[in-house]
């Protein structure tokens, strides 16, 4: 045991630290994914509702139902089904959606950019608003921003995202008429830009298509604002706690006593608050993915979230399974990245 460890560390320790961090994290991802697959599989398999019956509907004879079940592999023992599932998933095959007749992977890939674009911008806005407010309210304690952000911090955690989305729609679409009608990522009369990244805003810039850009950017405003309003408060509160601890810590006081300019001091404090903030941001990404389910429903966004809701409604096993798996994989990846960044950001952590 010890010898093995010694042998291992002979190879391990000379590897540069960043590589060691990445490798250690990635190695953990494999068993985690396996566990996730098992849970998704069992969970979805327990859902009630026989898709064969629903699909074949009024005109099905018992034989066609049986044939259909066989085609979907619904007649095999659960354990076999699971092995088949893992094997196929490992080969990029998550089955065929019962409702779209498309391979689930294709469906997910088509919808993923919509969701990623949404939560991507929401994340950026959330971080900008959350961190900026936190920093200002710590640096100017007792100022207007500080007091305002305290009220906001309390309220933000309490506001349901789907409700805020509705209010925004009511005011900006129905009452003021400023926002476009709440559905989809781009106006129906504007054709989407050719796919490069899948993000309409970026693709339309690449394609040099201002109409598509403004249309897609305009439609992002309300859903992104919804997500940011709800989540920036939480990020702000937590950042504020972290940042104010750091900002009042001994070494910052010492830096001030050393006559460093406030700008440098603030940057150092922020840099030191970074590890916990990174963790928070990671959690937030996971949270946003869940929130997207609701917000996409309201804004008829056509992304993964809406796909998930519909797959639940339709008992679309493969689709739901695929979504949950991809979502979990996505979140695990985010957590892994977060862990890696965290460890890189904090030289005190040993690997």
């Amino acid at each position: 045991m010890n010898a093995a460890r010694a042998g291992l560390s002979r190879f391990w320790n000379p590897i540069p630290r960043p590589l060691r961090i990445v490798a250690a994290r990635l190695a953990m991802l494999v068993p985690q994914m396996f566990g996730v697959m098992m849970v998704t599989f069992l969970l979805v398999r327990l859902l009630p509702g026989d898709p064969a019956l629903l699909l074949l509907g009024n005109m099905a004879t018992p034989e066609t139902i049986a044939a259909f079940r066989e085609r979907l592999g619904l007649d095999l023992p659960v354990w076999d089904q699971f092995l088949r599932y893992v094997w196929n998933a490992a080969h990029g095959d998550l089955g065929v959606s019962i409702f779209t007749s498309n391979p689930v992977v294709t469906d997910l890939m088509e919808r993923a950019p919509a969701t990623l674009e949404l939560i991507g911008y929401a994340m950026i806005l959330t971080i900008l608003v959350g961190v900026t407010l936190a920093v200002i309210s710590v640096v100017r304690e007792g100022g207007a921003v500080d007091i305002g952000s305290r009220v906001y911090g309390l309220a933000a955690g309490a506001i349901p995202d789907f409700w805020i989305g509705l209010l925004l729609i009511y005011f900006f679409f129905y009452t003021l008429g400023w926002a476009p009608a709440p559905f989809g990522r781009i106006d129906t009369f504007v054709s989407p830009p050719p796919t490069v990244t899948g993000f309409y805003t970026i693709d339309s810039i690449i394609a040099g298509d201002p109409a598509a850009f403004f249309s897609s950017a305009g439609r992002l405003v309300l859903p992104v604002a919804t997500l940011a309003i709800v989540n920036a408060g939480a990020l702000m509160k937590m950042t504020k706690t972290v940042f104010s601890d750091v900002y009042r810590s001994d070494f910052i006081r010492h830096a001030r006593a050393s006559g460093l300019p406030e700008r440098v001091i603030r940057r150092a404090a922020l840099r030191n608050s970074l590890p916990p903030i990174i963790t928070l941001v990671g959690f937030l990404v996971g949270f946003l993915l869940g929130a997207a389910v609701l917000v996409e429903t309201i804004f008829a966004w056509g992304g993964l979230g809406q796909y998930a809701v519909q797959s639940v409604v339709n008992s679309d096993y493969p689709a739901l399974q695929g979504f949950v798996l991809v979502a979990a994989a996505f979140i695990l990846t985010v957590y892994t990245i977060v862990d890696i960044l965290y460890e890189l950001a904090d030289p005190r952590i040993r690997v």
Partner: protein, 278 residues
């Protein structure tokens, strides 16, 4: 008590939190006296009426009185949330205590299990679970509890991990304290503050999740008076300019979650002798 009053004098936010909680408690107990309408009685001919003297918050598509439904929903929503959180607390805290205090393969296994549960998007997992188990109020509560157990266990475990290295634990052991006494009498009270904060966060989160589940149709059933379900029925109308159906239940959610957040802050301060007089 003296601490408490002194604290309230210094923290108006806590007073607001308590007041809001009181409003909810009144709504729970006195619902039948606060409104003469039934929360589930459809009156199709008076559907979608705007707020008026007769229907304070207006009516929904089925002509049910929104005010009555908002009031009665307090029972359902708080019941679900509090039962779920209480269950999660009762189960999660001892688990956290044990896996923090005793480190071994079992503890690691439990932690890995929690990792799995938590690597799913909470909301989607909740949605799927409720679909699996059926849309019963109790099922929603159980699902929420399952989602919250790891949160409590983790919070407690993190505290225990640092507390168990603190010298006072060693000192207690020298004074003859047993493992049990160390865990429950020494470590637990010190670890409880974050768990108490977690309670209020969780109750808030539970209210939000219940509402969200009902909103996408995976929560309680119609016509149960439940805030999320009410917002959901109003969602359609909102785009068409009918604002009152979704507005009021949404506000109720905000008030409920807010009160628990405020009370959580208070509980945090009060439960810690080093901060309660601040």
């Amino acid at each position: 008590m003296a601490h408490f009053l002194r604290y309230l004098r210094r923290h108006p936010a806590a007073v607001v939190g308590l007041a809001l909680l009181l409003v909810q408690i009144i709504a729970i107990i006195f619902a039948p006296w606060l409104t003469s309408y039934s929360p589930v009685e459809a009156d199709p001919l008076s559907s979608l009426q705007p707020p008026s003297a007769e229907h304070w918050f207006g009516t929904d598509v089925s002509g049910m009185d929104i005010y009555a439904r908002v009031i009665y929903a307090t029972r359902i929503n708080l019941l679900i949330s509090i039962v779920a959180v209480a269950f999660a607390f009762i189960v999660g805290v001892p688990i956290g205590l044990f896996i923090g205090f005793y480190r071994g393969w079992l503890s690691s296994l439990v932690m890995r299990l929690f990792d799995f549960i938590q690597s799913f998007p909470v909301f989607v997992l909740g949605m799927a679970l409720v679909s699996v188990m059926g849309q019963e109020i109790w099922n929603v509560a159980i699902v929420l509890a399952v989602l919250f157990i790891p949160m409590f266990a983790r919070v407690i475990r993190a505290e225990v991990l640092s507390l168990r290295e603190r010298p006072f634990v060693g000192a207690a052991r020298c004074s003859g304290a047993t493992d049990f006494s160390i865990m429950f009498r020494h470590i637990l009270p010190n670890a409880l503050t974050p768990a108490i904060v977690q309670i209020s966060i969780s109750v808030g989160l539970a209210i939000l999740l219940t509402a969200g589940l009902s909103f996408v149709g995976a929560g309680v059933r119609m016509p149960t008076p439940e805030w999320g379900l009410m917002v959901s029925t109003g969602a359609q109308q909102m785009i068409l300019g009918v604002w009152w159906v979704a507005l009021f239940p949404g506000m109720a959610i905000v008030i409920a979650v807010l009160s628990f957040a405020l009370i959580g802050d208070m509980a945090k301060d009060l439960s810690d002798p080093t901060t309660r007089d601040r």
